[in-house]
């Protein structure tokens, strides 16, 4: 599955002729703020959020809210995420802006029997809260510039991620294969045009 996706990505990239990116000095600021929507990725069935690029677009960070409704698999979970990421590189192939990136999402979940601090009926220091987790990820984003008044760019992304406890268990146990701790998500980013 992962190999197939990589093969598709590489094949897609290889058929394009390398070309210089089209510079539009007046439009760079407008790409800093974005809205996003995501499917899966330990952030709910779907999540929405907003974020921004920083430090000459080397870093980006967003916050999002995701919801897992009961019909998906019997439980309802609200997930709030803060996702900083480092843009490893950025290059342009034809009109596509490609950027691989990596980061760690901090998630806070709310739902049945999920808590930040153990409820009062527990003895003191009996349990740590279970609501807060870290989810490392790597991603690949591909965007295309738009001729829109409101949107400067539309990007699609895919991320391969895991959860903190899964990573720890995989290191501790040979029984857990690396592929078993991975999850894949897809999302779309709407880069907003600045008001200039």
């Amino acid at each position: 599955m992962i190999k197939t996706l990589l093969a598709i990505s590489m094949g897609f990239m290889s058929v394009q002729e390398p070309a210089e990116p089209i510079k539009d000095p007046g439009n760079q600021e407008g790409k800093k703020v974005y809205l996003k929507a995501q499917y899966a990725g330990n952030a709910g069935l779907a999540s929405i959020g907003f974020g921004s690029f920083f430090l000459n677009e080397k870093l980006m960070a967003d916050i999002s809210y995701g919801y897992l409704p009961g019909f998906a698999n019997d439980v309802r979970v609200h997930t709030f995420s803060f996702k900083p990421a480092y843009n490893i590189s950025e290059f342009t192939i034809k009109h596509f802006n490609i950027s691989p990136y990596a980061g760690i999402a901090a998630t806070w979940s709310a739902g049945h029997n999920i808590y930040l601090l153990a409820p009062d009926h527990y003895p003191r220091d009996y349990y740590y809260g279970n609501a807060f987790h870290f989810n490392p990820f790597v991603g690949l984003r591909s965007g295309i510039d738009l001729e829109s008044r409101r949107l400067s760019r539309l990007s699609l992304y895919a991320e391969l991620g895991t959860a903190d406890y899964e990573l720890l268990y995989a290191f501790r146990n040979r029984e857990i294969k690396f592929r078993e701790i991975l999850n894949l998500c897809f999302g779309v980013m709407f880069h907003l045009n600045g008001d200039r």
């Binding site: 698999n73 279970n130 895919a158």
Partner: protein, 283 residues
């Protein structure tokens, strides 16, 4: 600036012209294929670490139905294995199952609960994947950790009702869920236990994760539990939870507390009449 012929000026800004529609089309096709592959591969889709995305397999019911029936005269002895408190020690559990499979003449295996750290779906899945290697029917108790998050729901899907019983010859095995704290401080189902432990011809074996003398059991609940067990012809109690093997007599009943699996040991219990002999097996 690029060749102006490739760009279009809109409201004073330059935008690129889409001159190769085939490229865009190819991109859309590739993404559609990727989305199809993604959604068709269920194992890569994680909505939340707290979800309950697991098949209803009723593994305890299935294991109990596979215990070989007693044929002919009752055997002199009954042998079964016990291990407990797997948590995230999957390598040790796999090694224990391999060793148990080499034991001759066991009728079944019992896991004393705490098969997860946090009651998460993947933890249950990893445990279930390994337990299915057991050559003997393996019955799994619920532990206090298995109640965390949506663990109770996941346990019920995967294993069935956490309170269950079965009979082998003259012995009645009663699996009792006595977790309170992690179960919203709900009282265990004492009436069910009272009904399952009649003082009759059966020799009753009570198996619950938390020993009645553990700190988490308050005085009132301890008294209720002791009253039920002492009047119920219980000859052996088996527990886990304390992470350290202990064999003692409590409330006038032979009581065995299994250590955790990371101690790299399990226990073979040999029942003969009303007596139990416990052998520690290192692996």
């Amino acid at each position: 600036m690029e060749d102006p012929g490739r760009c279009k000026k809109v409201r004073g800004k330059y935008f690129m012209m889409t001159e190769n529609k085939n490229t865009v089309f190819a991109g859309i096709i590739c993404l559609a294929v990727a989305v199809y592959l993604f959604t068709s591969c269920e194992s890569l889709v994680d909505y939340s670490i707290f979800d309950a995305d697991i098949d209803a397999e009723m593994l305890n019911h299935s294991a109990i139905s596979k215990i070989p029936p007693v044929e002919g005269p009752l055997p002199d002895t009954l042998r079964f294995a016990v291990f407990s408190d797997v948590h995230d020690n999957y390598d040790e559990m796999a090694a224990a199952i391999t060793s148990i499979n080499r034991q001759p003449g066991l009728k079944f295996v019992i896991c004393g609960g705490d098969i997860t750290n946090s009651g998460l779906t993947k933890e249950f899945r990893w445990y279930a994947d390994i337990m299915k290697r057991s050559h003997y029917p393996l019955i799994t108790l619920i532990g206090n950790h298995d109640h965390l998050a949506n663990g109770l729901m996941i346990y019920e899907k995967l294993f069935g009702n956490p309170n269950a019983s079965f009979v082998y010859g003259q012995y009645k095995f009663v699996l009792f869920n006595n977790t309170m704290l992690e179960n919203y401080n709900k009282s265990p189902r004492y009436q069910w236990l009272r009904d399952e432990l009649p003082d009759n011809d059966y020799t009753n074996i009570l198996i619950s994760h938390i020993p009645p003398f553990a700190d988490e059991i308050d005085d009132l609940n301890r008294m209720v539990l002791n009253t039920i067990t002492s009047s119920g012809n219980v000859k052996l109690c088996i527990h886990g939870h304390l992470h350290k093997f202990r064999e003692t007599e409590y409330n006038g009943i032979h009581t065995v507390v299994a250590g955790d699996i990371s101690d790299r040991e399990y226990y073979v219990v040999k029942l003969k009449d009303d007596r139990a002999l416990v052998e520690i097996v290192k692996f």
